[in-house]
Symmetry: C2
Subunit: 209 residues, 2 copies
DNA sequence: TTAAAATTAAACAAATGTTTAAAACTATAT
DNA sequence: ATATAGTTTTAAACATTTGTTTAATTTTAA
């Protein structure tokens, strides 16, 4: 059993549940069933643990956005759809880390801890935005707001990921269960965002309406 | 000068900037230039201060959503547009409080502190959702996902409000200024969300395209 | 066997929210 | 005006909690 890896896993879980500040190294040590000195020993400090978690996961952020962007066999709409797919997939499967990341990203302080992560995030964002801009130039997309369009994609996902309470209340049904783990919910979100963005980007031909 | 009110104002400002946990009562006392014992004296505790701030502001959340909903002179699309207008206006003008609220709402713990706020929030949400559902039943709206449609409205706004860093990076221009205070940005966001939701809800007639 | 690495229990210093008891201030009644 | 009761403010101390360190012990591997 790799103690170091184990601590990181438990640490991330608690950071995701309670937030970095509220989680004490005694919480982590207790849940991981290791001595609390081991956190300082292995990671130097509590912040060191957070940095390690970020480094470990940040690579995972750099997903195939760039490759999709350069794929000549796809048109702009297909690219946007694929990117939405990837974003949702990444964020849903790593939702614990994303909670931590977003919470820290939103706290505006201690920027240095995750400046790498922010860099990756903004770079990905700019790629998506540039695809939309290209579509607008080519007149296959409407003349809409590319940056805010991206904000809506990512904002929808994050809003659904972040607030456990609201998610349970609005989507949890009568039993107020958290739908985040049900695969059907992921599909539902993907479908919604893709539909909404497509409706926004493209004025459809008039069928029989 | 009302000390109590002054402490609440400074407290909210710091909670918005640094988060509740990270802000110490010494920070607040120092910035407000009052003795730190006054916080416990006036509010009982640090958490008492937070509760007071929530109570003071929560009432402000209950805006005219209900009245819009019942206004017979408006059709469904107009109602949705007006609601978006109101949401953005409320959140932008009270953006400090909304930062605090959302951060605390997202932390999943200490639910009791703001259960009132959550109640108001979810009630408002359900009104908006029911309007969309009504539009769908009347077939003036497409058969889209009402709950997720609301999630996109509110998610977009909150995503833009929350992340100072990302906002500066993507919308701040070359000088990386925070656009949140510029009135043009508010207008831009309103226009975008209204357009996007309208495109999503209504299949437009084919003009000359 | 031995040297390095990992783990443990205990102690440490700093920071935090809270309380206390005295002082200063305010307003009211005499 | 003066005394008095109540409120507000202050400085200091308090008990806890926090992250971290230390020194001894155990485990691992060469």
């Amino acid at each position: 059993m790799d103690t170091k890896e184990h601590i990181m896993q438990v640490g991330m879980q608690l950071f995701a549940e309670k937030g970095y500040e509220t989680t004490t190294i005694r919480d982590i040590a207790s849940k991981a069933k290791v001595n609390l000195a081991l956190i300082s020993y292995h990671f130097g400090s509590k912040e060191g643990l957070l940095k390690n978690i970020f480094q470990q996961r940040a690579l995972n952020l750099q997903f195939q956005i760039w490759e999709i962007s350069n794929d000549k066999s796809l048109n702009e709409l297909q690219k946007v759809h694929l990117m939405i797919d990837y974003y949702i997939d990444k964020i849903f499967t790593n939702h614990q880390f994303h909670r931590v990341m977003m919470r820290e990203l939103f706290s505006s302080q201690s920027e240095e801890v995750h400046s790498d992560t922010i860099d990756i995030f903004t770079e990905n964002a700019k790629i998506v935005i540039s695809i939309i801009e290209k579509g607008i130039k080519k007149k296959v997309f409407r003349n809409i707001d590319p940056e805010l369009c991206f904000a809506s994609i990512i904002g929808t996902i994050h809003h659904l990921m972040h607030s456990t309470i609201l998610r349970k209340r609005i989507f949890g049904g009568k039993e107020k269960k958290d739908p985040i783990l049900e695969p059907s919910f992921k599909k539902r979100v993907t479908k919604h965002i893709q539909q909404m963005i497509e409706h926004h980007l493209i004025a459809e031909k008039n069928n029989n309406n």
